[in-house]
C-alpha cells in the first residue's frame, strides 16, 4: 500500500495499462505536449495525468492531436473497432459539445448497431467541476446529460484508488466508458494498493455507515458528504454516505438497501438541477422503494444556471458541506 494523489494514481495506472497491453494508445491535445516544438520537455497533459508516457512508450502510442475533437474522438472510436484500445482525452467535458455526435451517435451506438459483433474498448477521459474560477465553459459537470445516452457507461470516481481502478476497468470493458475526473480532486491523496486493481463498473461503495439518512454523493461531493456526516453526528444524526462511482449503470441495489434502513434519501450532485443525476436517483428510488421512504427525498445541486466566474457567485452556485448538513438534518427530522 502507498499514498498517492488522484493525479498520480491515474498516471501510474496509465503506465501499468500501457506496459501490459501494446494495443493501448493514448490520444488527445497536449497529452504529450510540445509536439512540433524544438527542444523542450514532455508536458504530459494539462493536469499531468499522462506524464512520462511518451518517453516510455513512444510517440506512436501517445498521440498529440490538433484541436479537432470530432475528428480525434471519432478516430479513437474507429480505432477501438479495429484492434486498438484507445484512451482518448477531451480536455474539459465542456468541450464535448464540439464532438458530441461522435460520442452520442457513433461511439455510444456502435455496439448496438453491430448487434454486438464488435466490442468497443474505448475510454474517454475528461475533466469536470466548478470551484476554481474557470467559468461557464471550463467548469461543467455533464455526467447526467451523458448518462441519458444509451450505450455509454459514465463513471465519476472520488478517490485515487477508484480513479485508477475504474480506468483499468474502462480499458478492459466491451463498450465505451466516459471517465470524468473532477479538477478539484487531482491533488486528493489516498492510500492505494500498488497493483491498482480494477474497480468494477456499476458497483458503488458505502463510504460511511449510518442508520438515519442516506446521502448519495458524487465525485467531489463525496468528501463534502463525509464532512457533513461528521457534523451531523454532533447533532445525533447518523448519515450513511454512498459513492455510486459509476453514474450509469447505477448501483441501485446498494442505494435501495441503504434507503430500506434509513428511509431517507439525499442526493448531492454537481450536474444539472433539472433532469440530472439527482433526479435519476430520486426517481429510481421513489419508483422502486416508495414504501421504504419515510420522508420526501431531497436533492442538493447547483441552481439551473451556467457556472459563474466571480468568486462570490461561484460560491453561491456550488453547494457545500453546509447545504448538505442542512438538507440532511431537515430530512432526518422530517
Amino acid at each position: 500500500m502507498t499514498k498517492l494523489s488522484l493525479r498520480d494514481a491515474l498516471n501510474r495506472a496509465h503506465h501499468q495499462i500501457m506496459s501490459a497491453d501494446d494495443t493501448v494508445v493514448v490520444i488527445g491535445e497536449d497529452i504529450l505536449g510540445g509536439s512540433g516544438v524544438d527542444g523542450g520537455q514532455e508536458l504530459g497533459g494539462v493536469f499531468g495525468v499522462t506524464a512520462g508516457l511518451a518517453a516510455r512508450f513512444g510517440e506512436a502510442r501517445v498521440i498529440d492531436t490538433p484541436i479537432s475533437e470530432t475528428a480525434f474522438v471519432g478516430m479513437a472510436t474507429g480505432a477501438a473497432m479495429t484492434g486498438l484500445k484507445p484512451i482518448v482525452e477531451v480536455m474539459f467535458c465542456d468541450f464535448m459539445g464540439v464532438c458530441f455526435d461522435q460520442i452520442m451517435n457513433q461511439a455510444a451506438k456502435a455496439r448496438f448497431l453491430s448487434d454486438g459483433r464488435f466490442d468497443l474498448p474505448l475510454t474517454i477521459r475528461t475533466t469536470m467541476g466548478a470551484g476554481d474560477g474557470s467559468a461557464a465553459m471550463h467548469s461543467q459537470s455533464i455526467y447526467g446529460l451523458l448518462a441519458t445516452v444509451p450505450g455509454l457507461v459514465v463513471a465519476c470516481p472520488s478517490t485515487p484508488a477508484d480513479a485508477a481502478g475504474i480506468l483499468k476497468a474502462a480499458v478492459a470493458a466491451k463498450g465505451p466508458v466516459v471517465l470524468m475526473e473532477h479538477k478539484g480532486l487531482y491533488g486528493e491523496m489516498g492510500v492505494v494498493d500498488e497493483a491498482l486493481p480494477p474497480v468494477p463498473l456499476g458497483k458503488g461503495r458505502v463510504v460511511r455507515e449510518g442508520a438515519d439518512v442516506t446521502i448519495v454523493a458524487v465525485s467531489a461531493f463525496v468528501n463534502r458528504a463525509v464532512e457533513a456526516a461528521d457534523l451531523l453526528n454532533a447533532e445525533g444524526i447518523e448519515a450513511e454516505v454512498i459513492d455510486p462511482r459509476t453514474i450509469k449503470p447505477l448501483d441501485l441495489p446498494l442505494i435501495l438497501e441503504s434507503v430500506k434502513k434509513t428511509g431517507r434519501l439525499l442526493v448531492a450532485a454537481e450536474d444539472a438541477a433539472f433532469g440530472g443525476f439527482a433526479d435519476a436517483v430520486i426517481s429510481a428510488v421513489s419508483r422502486a422503494a416508495f414504501s421504504d421512504l419515510r420522508a420526501a427525498p431531497a436533492a442538493i445541486t447547483p441552481p439551473d444556471a451556467p457556472v459563474p466566474y466571480g468568486r462570490k457567485a461561484e460560491a453561491v452556485w456550488l453547494p457545500g458541506t453546509d447545504e448538505i448538513v442542512a438538507a440532511a438534518s431537515a430530512l432526518a427530522t422530517a
Binding site: P66, M75, L84, R117
Partner: protein, 316 residues
Amino acid sequence: MSAETLTWLAEKAWFIRAFEGAIARAADAGEVPGLVHLSNGAELLELAVAHALKPGLDQVTGSHRSHGIALSLGVDPYGLACEILGREGGLSSGLGGTQHLIAPESGLLGSNGIVGGQVPLALGAALSAKTLGTGGIAVAYFGDGAANQGAVLESLNLASALKLPVLFVCENNGLGQSTASSYAAGGVSLLGRARSFGLAADHVDGTDVVEAIKVADRLASWVRSAGSPAFLEASVPRLSGHYHGDAETYRGNGAGPTDPFDRLPKLLADRDVPEGLVAEMKARAEAEAERVVAKATQAADVSDKALQRYLKEAGA
C-alpha cells in the same frame, strides 16, 4: 483494363443496380421499414475503388447511401437485403438498417446516418492499421454535401497531420438532398480543399470506369505505400431521388443525368467478349437480385429478439 476485370466489374455493377431495383420494389410493397437512399449511378466508381482494396486488410466507412458500397466490397447480398428489410439473417439482425450497415469481415466498418459521421471513424481504422503494422488502409466515402461538414474537414486535416493511411473518396453528385453543391460549397473545387490540408488529391469522372479503375488504384497504392492520406473526388450522377420516393420537384425539367451503364456494352464489345454476354449478365443480375430480395422478404423479423439480447447484456 483487362477483359476479366471489366467483366467482373460489369457483372457486379448490373447486380448492384438490379439489387437496388429490387429493394425499391420491396419498399413500394411496404416491406422496408425506413427510407432507402439508392446508389444508382455510383456503382462503377465504387467497384473501381473496391478493386483497389485488399480484402481482409482494408476497412471502409460509408454514408447513408451505402448499399452499393457494401456490395462492391463483397458483402453478402442476402445479409444486406435482410438488414435493409429488418429481417433475420440481416447483418445486424435488423437493429441497424439501411443507414447503418456493418460488415467488417468484408471490409465495411460501417455506414452512417449522420452526414460526415463516418469519416473520423475511418481515420481510426487507418490508425489501427498503422499502429499494428497490418499494411491495411482505410477508405472514407462521403458526398459533396458532407464535404461542408466539420467532421469531414477536421478529418482531412487530422489525417494529414498524423500521416494516416486513409483514402477519402468524395462522391460528388452535385446535390446534397435538394441543394446544389455549387450553392453549398464555397470555392472552386473540392480538390483545392483537400490539397490545402496537404493531401494528395485527384479528380476522376466516376462514369468512366477505365479511368476510375486507374485513378482509384493509383491513389490507393499511394496511400498504402506512402502511408499518407489521399483524396479522390469522383463525379457521379444521382440517377434516382435523394431517397427512393423523392419526387425531386426541386429539380428542373432539363435532361436528367445520363446513366454511366450506357457505356458498358460498347466497352465490353471492344474487349471481344462472347456475343450475348451483356444480355446474359443483365438477366442473371435481375434474377439473382430478385431471388435474394424475395428470399429476404420471406425471412422473419427477429429484431425484437436482437433488442432483447442487447438489453440483457446492457443490464437495462
